[in-house]
Symmetry: C2
Subunit: 413 residues, 2 copies
Amino acid sequence: MTKLKGNLIFGQSGGPTSVINSSAAGVFLEALEHPDIIPRVFGMHHGIEGVLNDDLFDISQEDRQELEYLCGTPSSILGTCRYKLADPDVDDSDYQKILAILRKYDIRYFFYNGGNDSMDTCSKVSRYLRKNDYDCRVIGIPKTIDNDLFGTDHCPGFGSAARYIATSIAEVWHDTHSYNTPMVVIFECMGRHAGWLAGASALAGVIGHGPDLVYLPEVPFDQNKMLEDARRVLKEKNVVLISVSEGIMNRDGQLVAEQLSTLATDAFGHKQLGGTAALLADLVAEELDVKVRGIEFSLLQRAAAHCASGVDIEEAVLAGRTGVRAAIDGASGVMMGYARPDQGPYRCDIIHIPLEEVANREKRVPLDWINAEGNGVTADFIDYALPLIEGEPHQIHENGLPRFAHLKKIAVR
Amino acid sequence: MTKLKGNLIFGQSGGPTSVINSSAAGVFLEALEHPDIIPRVFGMHHGIEGVLNDDLFDISQEDRQELEYLCGTPSSILGTCRYKLADPDVDDSDYQKILAILRKYDIRYFFYNGGNDSMDTCSKVSRYLRKNDYDCRVIGIPKTIDNDLFGTDHCPGFGSAARYIATSIAEVWHDTHSYNTPMVVIFECMGRHAGWLAGASALAGVIGHGPDLVYLPEVPFDQNKMLEDARRVLKEKNVVLISVSEGIMNRDGQLVAEQLSTLATDAFGHKQLGGTAALLADLVAEELDVKVRGIEFSLLQRAAAHCASGVDIEEAVLAGRTGVRAAIDGASGVMMGYARPDQGPYRCDIIHIPLEEVANREKRVPLDWINAEGNGVTADFIDYALPLIEGEPHQIHENGLPRFAHLKKIAVR
């Protein structure tokens, strides 16, 4: 089989993670090793918007060492977006623009790195190009701290956010247990519909410093039950650590955070959440008459490259590198996913998942990984998540601060 | 001179830090190396309350390796307190109890690790023992993330909190700059009256990812000026990062956070602060009509041993070890302080500061280290703080999580 010769473009989309740039490093470094097949490597400035606006970076001109530093640099170095492509059967004007740019720069490898919505974008582009007989390999690279992508065992970004959250909670455990006064701390983790990160906070329990109560959005939240749980633990232990997902909902489907006035809606119709911890802290303080702190991990949890998981970084690089090799070998219309053996020691294998199977679907925490009380996770959850937070971050420091990647970001002419 | 022979007691007091246990390690490990002079080493359970309640731990029975692990373990391993001793001239009942316990266990070395209030406790104990002709060396070991102790160049705990804050802000900088949408983020650092930690957030600017605006409690806070500053930066850069101290006050001396209803008062008459970032975020969102996030570092900033400064850890150990050697050599009624050369490379020397000079005084950020606009710090501040965040944390990991110290905490019989 003759290899498809042409340039490669890579874009980042959706909410950033600590390791999304590790996948970028994987794609870039691998692609640059095949100059006979892929003469030039481009980056999209702000994801698909960069393609629509003919706003691309020439990655081939970047220093290789700086590309390596991407593995210690959080967030989306090329810029991200939350742009939603229209249904091509209704309005194909964006797709026409995209195709024109791909032709203009002879792009034959289209890589898009993101979550559910980004895989939807990727899937639509793939179908449109096929329909229009433009030979281009379209590959999705997964990314989301939420860990909710369908078809893959887990997602790059999750392990690092999980490690940061578990580490931080274990540290705050020491702080709160150093006083002899009763106290409740409520931690708020990201996760609109899936409780993977709140569940991961229980990893701190492996070393005996975990939350006492964990509430996930997979189970309807009952504030009276929570108050009862907290009251019981307070009596037993004097200190209660509670971890919740931002997206916990009451039995009637109403978000606990909905009582806050600052809710807004993003371009995908998702609610912008936050403030659940503060709201619950007020409730607990009032009902239990105890000192309470609400701690929202906010943007910290998805940016904390200094506490990234080494396993997560290596797997993120692997997804990028393997994606390029698979595309060269003919793969297209697929997302690189992860699989692990059913038994035996942890190992991560790359699998191909059709994009249309991933797009717009969500993988939630299995209900049998949540305890019967609905206030914690089971050993199965821990066994699943623990291998994902292993290993040290890939960072060097200057003046005590991380040495982040500096890209030249030279515009493609 | 004959050395004073007797046992040593050590206690931790006030708000915990990432490295207060490093000072404990320093005191314990040094004291255990002098069994001919100091036969036994004790720890106070919850600071001075442990003495008052005859609730002490026998540190001599702890595993040496676990004591080493204290250097990677945040917060006060022995338990802390905020107990305020009465004026001995008014009510000396507590002091009588303390003296009885010192006699009971033949304690001749009294070590207390804390901030301003703890040095007040230490100072009072020292004077009382002298007045009652009980021969005991009383040594204060400094500790506070707030960096506001008088007489010392800086305080153990500050460098680590500063490193965590600067690192986290540099990371969130990447997150917020990955979008092409306008945004304001407001970070809230601890610091009731002194802006050292908010100022330290500017260290992230050394690598080009710092806050645009920094407000310290040393300068009266004008919310209209802040809104004007934010509006200008927003226009220039599209993204504004703002860092504030929890204790910023208006020109009339009212706390910005005072509008919140959750204020309470602790045993020392200090206001319990928090919520300044959330309050300002609401204000900015309303006035500037832009997406805003408030991020409160809360307990994370004083517990984040995983991002501690190596320099801070080593100096915290040094304060403990040097204190023991100084006490054996006759020092008493002093706090171990830090000094650095006026010029040349950074170096930390231990100095002795009389306890009564430290007690109940606060060292605030010099006004000439704050810029003329009152919205940032000068190069002098950076030159001062940067050497304090150098070096890596002293932690080993198991299963991707920190291996914290496990003490047996055997009660003294």
